[in-house]
């Protein structure tokens, strides 16, 4: 039962907050630094080149780029005497040299020798039985005064030993360029001087490529979403919230798709993730939890006082994808990702290079600033900023293979 998590959503500045704000951010400064190996290792029952990420801790005041551990020897040894070795690809990412999948009844152990020569070993881990996602539902609900679409997951009935679930998601959404125009000004045939009366047929236009009209963007979950069946009536996960999208979010504007990954974990792995999540979660006077080091199942050979972060997790995975958009709910169409009220009007007839909003300026906007043509009224030429006229300036215009319209 995730009772503590519910308690934690409470923010308590209460009375003080009534009168004054009581919580303020401050700049983090490392008082004393500890260099520790960080292991992200989840192998699954998917047949693939399994991935393991290694990095090291870095100082609090530094940005978000960790120090990657690139020169480690990484291998997984099984109880049936197989050894899978891993090679460094890039940025601390190691991939197994051969494809393999975790199998039930076999134990797996992770071995790492890092660049400092320290040898780490995990405990033996087993693959929990697999449980499929039955369905993914959406529901329009109000959370803390904010209306949004809640994505809920239901698993199938589990066997008794599958109790601990972890979720990740990948959301992909379609972006229809808001101010798409079928033509572009042909800059190759740009004329600095001279014009037709009323600018008819001048400047010259060419058809705009279609791939600037529709794009796709993908986000990955970055919070820890764990649950368990302890304390529940049912032997399945039902209506478990994995993602809440406020109705105003642009991702709902055109078509939206979410891929939910369901991992079945061991109790220890689940606890590791849960404690990590709680330590980084909302804090308040009610649950001013004692923080501390969270130990996983990996330790340094011969010296268990030395720290190493991470849990070698052998999980079974199932995934399911759904599609929807705003129109399936009784809500207004969300705004475009960017504000596109900034439609600019330029005078094509003003050919003096120094003229304000004249032809020279138009050329500069189109060629240097990437502005997009948006039609004209006689000599008044309309242009829009690049992200309003061409989604490929900020998202991918390649249609994902899984995409269904």
């Amino acid at each position: 039962m995730k009772l503590k998590t519910y308690c934690k959503t409470i923010i308590l500045c209460l009375l003080a907050n009534v009168i004054y704000n009581c919580t303020e951010p401050f700049a983090l400064v490392t008082e004393s630094f500890e260099d520790v190996l960080v292991v992200e290792a989840t192998i699954t029952n998917e047949l693939k080149n399994q991935e393991i990420k290694l990095s090291r801790t870095f100082k609090l005041e530094e940005g978000s780029v960790p120090v990657y551990e690139t020169n480690a020897n990484v291998s997984i040894i099984t109880s049936v005497n197989e050894t899978y070795t891993f090679s460094h690809i890039e940025n601390g990412l190691y991939k197994s040299n051969q494809e393999f999948q975790a199998q039930e009844g076999v134990s797996y152990m992770l071995k790492i020798k890092d660049s400092k020569g320290d040898e780490y070993m995990s405990t033996d881990e087993f693959l929990p039985s697999s449980v499929a996602i039955e369905e993914i539902n959406t529901k329009l609900i109000n959370i803390e005064g904010e209306l949004g679409v809640q994505v809920l997951v239901d698993s199938e009935d589990t066997s008794n030993d599958a109790n601990y679930f972890r979720y990740e998601y990948e959301e992909t959404y379609k972006i229809e360029t808001e101010l798409f125009y079928r033509y572009d000004i042909d800059l190759d045939n740009w004329k600095e001087q001279g014009t037709q009366p009323f600018c008819a047929g001048d400047p010259e236009l060419i058809a705009r490529p279609e791939n600037q009209k529709t794009c796709y963007s993908t986000n990955y979950s970055n919070d820890i979403i764990v649950t368990s069946l302890n304390g529940l009536d049912e032997s399945k996960v039902s209506e478990f919230p994995v993602r809440f999208i406020p109705v105003s979010s642009h991702v709902l504007r055109d078509r939206y798709s979410i891929l939910v990954k369901q991992y079945i974990q061991s109790a220890d792995a689940n606890n590791f993730y849960k404690v990590l999540e709680e330590l980084g979660g909302d804090k308040n006077l009610l649950t001013d939890n004692q923080p501390g080091f969270v130990k996983g199942n990996i330790s340094l050979k011969d010296n268990d006082n030395k720290k190493v972060i991470g849990f070698f997790d052998v999980s079974s995975i199932t995934t399911k994808r759904v599609f929807f958009d705003y129109s399936e709910f009784e809500i207004d169409k969300p705004e475009y990702i960017y504000n596109c009220d900034d439609l600019r009007t330029l005078n094509y007839a003003a050919t003096d290079p120094n003229a304000e909003n004249g032809r020279a300026y138009l050329f500069w906007l189109l060629s240097v600033k990437g502005y997009k043509y948006y039609g004209q009224d006689a000599c008044d030429v309309f242009v829009v900023p690049p992200h309003c006229g061409d989604c490929s300036t900020f998202a991918s215009n390649e249609k994902p293979i899984f995409w269904e319209d």
Binding site: D35, N142, E144
Partner: protein, 930 residues
């Protein structure tokens, strides 16, 4: 009634003052005159005097009061007026003097016809009076001594006997309450500037040895404050008087009411809070808070503003036995600790035992905080109340049977909800926070030997900060006490007390996981305590107590048909804690007193229950359970116990200074489970069982106490060292609610605490107050052969409550009768925190790496509060006496960080510090009394 001519009275008064100067010239004028017969049967002294005046040509000069109630039953014949007067005045405190045909009666003093030898050194003689030779008592002696006391009345005790050379006389009397007329017991009575003291017995009777001549007799008690009476002692005598609870005047801030109690008492490490005095201390949000005042004394701390509980001498918040009229109160605070749940108007006294704990108390490791409600006014209807910005408070005293039985009702409630509703912040508008507490007390004096007292108390807090959950917590307690006096030497009391603490969480969110969670602890105690005053040297207290605990550790129920939460109940816990206690205050000699106490306590965890037995040599976990033992209802699961020694000694170094020492050991069988760095209202209690051993502590203290300038100044320095065993802590991220195998998350370790406490008090005068400083450390060690059960590699580290330096300055300046100013300054070392030593990325998200626990501290804490009290005028026609209090809390606007924490926001770690009152908080409160 007699009318002494005005002229005569004036004459008399003139004589009184000038008497001594005219005595010489009067010397030869006294002469005798024959009286033939005089029948004074069955007459009052007044009638007798009239008869003498008739029979002779003498004129008497006297005051009516002196002669009205004295009866005379004698006949005289052929005698002199001298003999008659000697005879009829023999049993009275009156003396006479004859000048010509005038008889002047004087009370107490002998009018002398000669000057005492050293008359002109009178000042010096006063100072040395008890040790000098006989000094004639003259009026001059007191008129020449300038007294601060506002009550200038002088009481004359006894009658002077010219032939007596005694230097000390016996003064006795009965002290009663002016309203209830009830004798005041345990009132200390003493002579200023000396170590002469006594206390009243159950009947309000006192007897005290007093030096001849002028003295100041003082009384002191918690409920009656202090009084002074000027006395001039001529001989043995009686002085009965009444005391009033004088709360209307601006009191001086007095913490230790008993004048020289700090030097005299045998106990070391005891703090008494003067409840009336706290109105002169600046308030936060208009609430007078008895317990907050306690934290300005050395050795008593909180984790910060808005933190629950008190840490006494390095103990944890669950290690204090907090008693409210004898019943334990589990969470005496509202609003997460911003307000205390103890009604200040109904509180009579607060005593905190942090060093020597009397043998009658036990079950908690660090201290006993004993809160008693006030004695109810049984004479007339009265009340007191206040209106502040957040709360309203009213207390009424209602006599039921006049002088015999009375009822006290106290209610306090908040109207903070509207404050929240008025807030601009949308989240706050959805919040609610309310609390109230109510108190009812009944006292009945059946006869001189039997009294009963019943107290009921209820408190509740309810708050909701997010729209989906509502939290509730509250105390409920009741006590019934019967006092019986067997005889002068033996008395006893029997008390039944019960207490309950519970909290509840209702979660109604958007999904199918709505639930209602409840926790409840209940305890019921029977205690029999008896006193036996064997003789002057030995005073015994003995008795037994037994307490039954019943805990419902948690029940969760689904709300609504959609909820998929399983109804689940963790089975009830039961335990019986019993003790036998005996203590003897042994007065070895005038200088040395010992208080020897022993408490034999035992605790038995009772079924029905199932207990896990874990494999040895591996960490406790659900996997290492090797056996589950089932116990039937009331079957003994495990018994713990042992002797608890409570020994203290006091030795007078001089009449105004003493040295004290004590040794104490304590055992605690019930524990607060908390994974928080500070306590929270939804922390639950757990009893010791097969897998959780009781906490144990031993403490030695040594203190030196000194009073000076007539007990106006009080200085003390105390040191202590405490060793603790089996302190409870938990693994990081432990889940304690509804956990059936809590022991797998538990870490039990050792602790040690030591410190020095200094206190300087000025108890009287326009400027008064105190300065307290303590240096204290608390260290904890969580070691184990298993890595998972080790914290900081098994070395000692600073406990959460460790705040080495603590300075408090509380002072009050009385400008006029109506205006007084108060000030409170506090400085404390910041509390320890666990601070990250780096960060890392895991699962696309930043996390921080925590290393050693409590290695860093939040910045030091300091705060200055100022207040002014403005008394209403004291016109009689006013319905109620009232005063205004204006306070500014945290005048310097110091942003004292309460905690520092790290939150994951969109994959990035952000550091935040929170504080409770980071800017000055002004408050105005209206107080009234009728």
């Amino acid at each position: 009634m007699i009318n002494i001519p005005l002229k005569k009275m004036a004459f008399f008064k003139a004589i009184k003052i000038t008497l001594v100067f005219t005595l010489i010239s009067l010397k030869s004028l006294g002469q005798s005159q024959e009286i033939k017969t005089l029948n004074l049967n069955n007459s009052t002294l007044y009638e007798a005097i009239l008869k003498i005046e008739k029979a002779t040509n003498y004129t008497f000069y006297f005051e009516n009061d002196w002669v009205n109630n004295v009866s005379v039953n004698e006949n005289f014949s052929n005698t002199t007026i001298k003999d008659v007067l000697e005879s009829i005045l023999a049993e009275t405190p009156l003396n006479y003097f004859i000048i010509d045909s005038k008889v002047i009666l004087t009370k107490n003093s002998v009018v002398r016809d000669y000057l005492p030898e050293n008359y002109f050194k009178v000042e010096e003689a006063v100072a040395k009076a008890p040790n000098e030779e006989e000094v004639a008592v003259l009026q001059k002696q007191y008129t020449s001594t300038n007294l601060n006391s506002n009550k200038n009345k002088v009481f004359y005790i006894g009658k002077e006997n010219k032939n007596s050379s005694k230097k000390y006389f016996e003064l006795s009397g009965v002290i009663t309450d002016v309203k209830t007329l009830k004798p005041i017991e345990n009132l200390s009575v003493f002579i200023s500037g000396t170590s002469i003291n006594s206390t009243t017995n159950n009947n309000g009777f006192y007897k005290i040895k007093v030096p001849k001549g002028y003295s100041v007799l003082e009384t002191s008690s918690l409920s009656y404050g202090k009084t002074k009476k000027q006395i001039v002692v001529y001989g043995n005598g009686v002085l009965n008087f009444k005391l009033i609870e004088d709360t209307n005047a601006l009191d001086e801030v007095v913490i230790n009411s008993s004048k020289n109690e700090n030097v005299k008492s045998v106990e070391v490490g005891v703090t008494s809070i003067d409840v009336k005095g706290i109105k002169n201390i600046p308030l936060v949000l208009g609430e007078r808070d008895v317990l907050k005042v306690a934290t300005t004394m050395p050795g008593i701390k909180t984790a910060g503003e808005g933190a629950l509980g008190y840490s006494v001498r390095g103990g944890k918040v669950d290690q204090n036995l907090m008693l409210f009229d004898g019943a334990a109160i589990y969470n005496p605070s509202h609003f997460f600790g911003v307000f205390s749940a103890v009604n200040p108007f109904a509180t009579g006294s607060v005593d905190i035992y942090k060093g020597s704990i009397p043998a009658e108390y036990g079950g908690k490791l660090s201290s006993v905080i004993n809160i008693s409600t006030k004695e109810i006014n049984k004479k007339e209807f009265s009340g007191e109340g206040n209106i502040g910005p957040v709360t309203g408070n009213l207390m009424l005293e209602v006599p039921v049977v006049k002088e015999k039985a009375a009822l006290l009702v106290g209610v306090r409630a908040t109207y903070s909800d509207w404050v929240l509703k008025a807030a601009k912040n949308k989240n706050l508008q959805n919040s609610t926070a309310s609390f109230y507490d109510a108190l009812i007390k009944y006292e009945h004096k059946i006869d001189d030997k039997n009294t009963i007292q019943a107290t009921g108390y209820f408190s509740n807090d309810r708050f909701s900060i997010t729209s989906d959950s509502v939290f509730d917590y509250g105390n409920k307690l009741g006590s019934l006490k019967w006092n019986h006096v067997f005889n002068d030497k033996n008395s006893a009391s029997l008390q039944l007390a019960t207490s309950e603490y519970k909290f509840n969480i209702i979660y109604e969110g958007n999904f199918n996981r709505n639930f209602d969670f409840g926790y409840k602890i209940n305890e019921t105690q029977v205690k029999l305590k008896a006193r036996y005053l064997h003789n002057k040297k030995h005073k015994f207290t003995y008795g037994l107590s037994s307490k039954l605990y019943a805990i419902n550790p948690g029940e969760i129920r689904p709300i609504g048909p959609e909820s998929i939460i399983t109804k689940e109940t963790v089975s009830k816990e039961k335990g019986l804690e019993s003790a036998l206690f005996l203590s003897d205050i042994f007065k070895v000699n005038d200088a040395l007193s010992l208080d020897f106490g022993i408490r034999l306590s035992t605790f038995t965890a009772l079924g029905k229950s199932s207990q896990n037995i874990y494999a040895a040599n591996v960490p406790k976990s659900e996997e290492s359970v090797i056996e589950v033992k089932q116990y039937n209802n009331n079957e003994f699961i495990k018994t713990y116990g042992g002797p608890e020694v409570r020994l203290s000694a006091r030795y007078f170094l001089s009449p105004t200074s003493s040295i004290k020492a004590s040794f104490n050991n304590t055992i605690q069988y019930s524990h607060l489970l908390s994974t928080n760095t500070t306590a929270s209202p939804i922390d639950s209690w757990k009893l010791s069982d097969l897998n959780i051993e009781p906490q144990r502590a031993q403490q030695v203290s040594l203190g030196i106490f000194k009073n000076s300038e007539n007990d106006v100044y009080e200085v003390s320095l105390e040191g202590y060292y405490k060793k603790m065993k089996n302190l409870l802590d938990f693994k990081v991220g432990a889940n304690l609610l509804l956990n059936k195998t809590i022991e797998t998350e538990l870490l039990q370790g050792d602790g040690k605490a030591y410190g020095l406490e200094f206190l300087l008090k000025k108890k009287e005068g326009r400027l008064n107050g105190w300065l307290a400083y303590s240096y204290s450390r608390t260290l904890v060690k969580l070691d184990s052969e298993f890595l998972t059960n080790r914290v900081n590699n098994g070395a000692y580290f600073a406990a959460n409550q460790d705040r080495p330096h603590d300075v408090n300055l509380v002072s009050n300046y009385k400008l006029t009768k109506r205006f007084s100013f108060s000030m409170n300054f506090n400085y404390q070392s910041g509390r320890p925190i666990t601070y990250p030593v780096g960060k890392y990325i895991h699962n696309n998200t930043e996390h921080v790496l925590y290393s050693d626990r409590n290695k860093f501290r939040v910045p030091d804490y300091y705060r200055l509060d100022l207040g002014v009290n403005i008394e209403g005028n004291h016109k009689n026609q006013k319905l109620a006496h009232s005063f205004w209090n204006i306070s500014v809390y945290n005048v310097l606007g110091r942003n004292n960080p309460y905690s520092v924490f790290f939150v994951n926001e969109d994959g990035q770690i952000k550091g935040y510090k929170s504080s409770i009152f980071s800017v000055p908080v002004p408050t105005i409160t209206y107080n009234f009394k009728f």
